[in-house]
């Protein structure tokens, strides 16, 4: 029991400190501004664009899609920076030289971003209610909360994998932006998935966010938790797969660094 609580405390301490250490936007004012304004910008832009294109009939579709899509900011950019940050801090040799439990170390990097991302979605949905009259009167809020959390977790899973890539490839920002925009297209935040050709739909189904967005749309329009459970579980499964792939990639990177003496890694 003592070992478990100790491990948890260490996990928490490490998680919190690494979040502060590696998440570069964290100056209080900048952080709050980005947290509140970023969702606003994305929602305004795509919702107006979307409702203009669709003749104003389907604003909710865009508002909800983009609100959930906001998790990609934390899940992809935040997590990637948290993993890749050790490279430009030059801390990797010191990290790899510790006996630290690699799994705690790795998943700890994403932990805070889960809450950060979920908070972003809540703020974005708030903007949706305020500006576009998004209506939650039919919504099972508990189920929506679970959907948001699970979607954030699964996006962070992908982020962990991208973060490992950023340890190998030189251009972190390029990788990040590419993934962010791929998600923007393939997640169905702004496009009805059924209008995609088949191969694109398959890709959609293999990415995080897709099921989370679909689930949120259903829940807000009145569906029950039971109806969206398959979507939520699917979303979680996708996240776990990416997270584990990321973890193995991380171990592989460490191993390669020790084998090859890869310059900036050790």
């Amino acid at each position: 029991m003592r070992i478990i609580t100790n491990n948890l405390r260490l996990f928490w301490q490490g998680t919190l400190l690494s979040y502060i250490a590696l998440f570069v936007w964290l100056r209080p004012t900048t952080y709050i501004a980005s947290k509140v304004l970023m969702p606003l910008a994305q929602i305004l832009f795509f919702s107006f664009l979307g409702s203009y294109a669709s003749g104003g009939t389907n604003v909710d579709f865009y508002v909800i899609g983009n609100a959930i899509q906001i998790v990609a900011v934390s899940g992809i950019f935040g997590v990637t920076l948290s993993i890749g940050g050790d490279r430009w801090n030059g801390t990797l040799p010191y990290l790899f030289g510790t006996p630290a439990n690699r799994m705690m170390l790795f998943f700890g990097r994403a932990f805070m971003h889960i809450f950060d991302g979920a908070l972003g979605v809540v703020i974005a949905l708030g903007w949706g209610a305020l500006l576009f009259g998004l209506d939650f009167s039919q919504t099972d809020l508990f189920a929506l909360g679970i959907t948001i959390l699970v979607t954030t977790i699964s996006t962070c899973g992908l982020g962990l994998m991208m973060g490992c890539l950023s340890l190998i490839t030189a251009n972190v920002m390029f990788v990040n932006n590419t993934v962010y925009f791929l998600l923007l297209i393939f997640s169905g935040a702004n496009i009805v998935l059924e209008t995609f050709p088949n191969w694109m739909q398959i890709i959609s189904q293999m990415l995080p966010l897709t099921r989370g967005i679909a689930s949120a749309r259903l829940l807000i329009s009145g569906s029950s938790l039971a109806e969206v459970t398959p979507l939520v579980l699917g979303e979680l499964g996708i996240g776990i797969i990416y997270g584990w792939l990321g973890f193995y990639l991380f171990k592989w990177v460490e191993n390669q660094a020790k084998r090859k003496g890869t310059l900036d890694l050790v």
Partner: protein, 323 residues
């Protein structure tokens, strides 16, 4: 029992160059190195740039896998028991990188304490103690980005002592420190010696190696060319004297001319402000000065002194006056 034992260690790097026609080049950074360090010993590792010192240290700290040979630390195998070894060793690779610049000094230590699985109760007491030890008392709350280079290096020392390791690997820990900082650092090392820590120290400062090391290995081009106590190494050059000649803007060709003189054993140069000091090793001592002056005709020459050889001179002799 020996705390550290290295047998026939070999480490190769493969590098690829060229974008279209990729060529793979192999560098034998460490060719065949063997040595043993006993408990409580301070073992100095000297050698010119690129000799393989950092590579050796990285293998010993579990950061690189050897291509051949056997390395044991406290009887544990460096490859198989890497994680157990990591709990027992501390290491520093000189310089100011390797810290989280956005965190305060204390938070850096708290983070690494969590990576070493040190319980918060323990680290709460240990961190202030270590900050005091390395002379950062009262500065621990500041962000590392505002630290001077010396302060960052001090923080590295505190970091590596967090889990109170018995074995320390210090790769150029005093690089870039001012003379006072370097001296204080040596005091810390002496304290650690007094605590019977086993230490492998890499340095380019000969007097540092001389004053701290129990034994010194000189490594050149991936092999050990000498391994002995500092005083024994100095005996190799006992019969020699060193003539120091201050020059101004001397050309390499003149240096080579002097190196070729029959009574000259080795020549090295040391940059000093606008001057270059020629260090000429010769058995003839002061008698060599007139002949040396003749070779330097037409050059601007300043002070000339003759002195006893130091560990540095022994080192220069061993590695052929390269550095």
């Amino acid at each position: 029992m020996n705390t550290i034992s290295v047998k026939n260690l070999k480490r190769i790097y493969k590098t690829t160059t060229g974008v279209i026609r990729r060529k793979t080049k192999e560098v034998e950074a460490v060719k065949d190195i063997s040595f043993e360090i006993s408990k409580g010993e301070l073992f100095g590792l000297l050698g010119p740039n690129g000799a393989g010192k950092t590579t050796t240290t990285k293998v010993l700290t579990t950061l690189l896998i050897p291509n051949a040979g056997e390395v044991k630390i406290n009887g544990l195998d460096i490859v198989k028991d890497a994680n157990e070894i990591r709990k027992q060793i501390g290491f520093i690779f000189g310089g100011e990188r390797g810290l989280y610049w956005r965190l305060s000094g204390i938070d850096n230590l708290r983070y690494f304490a969590s990576l070493y699985h040190i319980e918060p109760e323990v680290s709460k007491k240990r961190i202030p103690y270590l900050l005091d030890l390395v002379g950062l008392k009262g500065r621990g709350d500041e962000r590392v980005e505002g630290y001077s280079r010396g302060m960052k290096q001090r923080l590295h020392v505190a970091r590596t002592l967090l889990h109170d390791p018995d074995i320390l690997f210090l790769d150029e820990p005093t690089i870039g420190l001012d003379p006072v900082g370097a001296r204080e650092f040596r005091e810390v090392i002496r304290d650690l010696q007094a605590e019977k820590k086993t230490i492998l120290l890499t340095t380019h400062y000969m007097f540092e190696a001389d004053s701290l090391s129990d034994r010194v290995a000189v490594i050149d081009d991936g092999i050990i060319v000498a391994l002995d106590t500092p005083s024994a190494l100095k005996k190799h050059v006992r019969d020699l004297s060193v003539v120091e000649i201050e020059t101004f803007g001397i050309a390499e060709i003149v240096v080579n001319k002097i190196r070729a003189l029959p009574f000259v054993d080795a020549v090295s140069t040391r940059e000093q402000d606008q001057r270059q000091v020629l260090l000429v090793q010769t058995e003839r001592g002061a008698e060599a000065v007139p002949d040396l002056m003749k070779s330097l005709e037409g050059q601007r020459v300043g002070r000339v002194t003759v002195r006893e050889p130091t560990l540095e001179d022994a080192y220069v002799r061993l590695v052929g006056g390269k550095s």
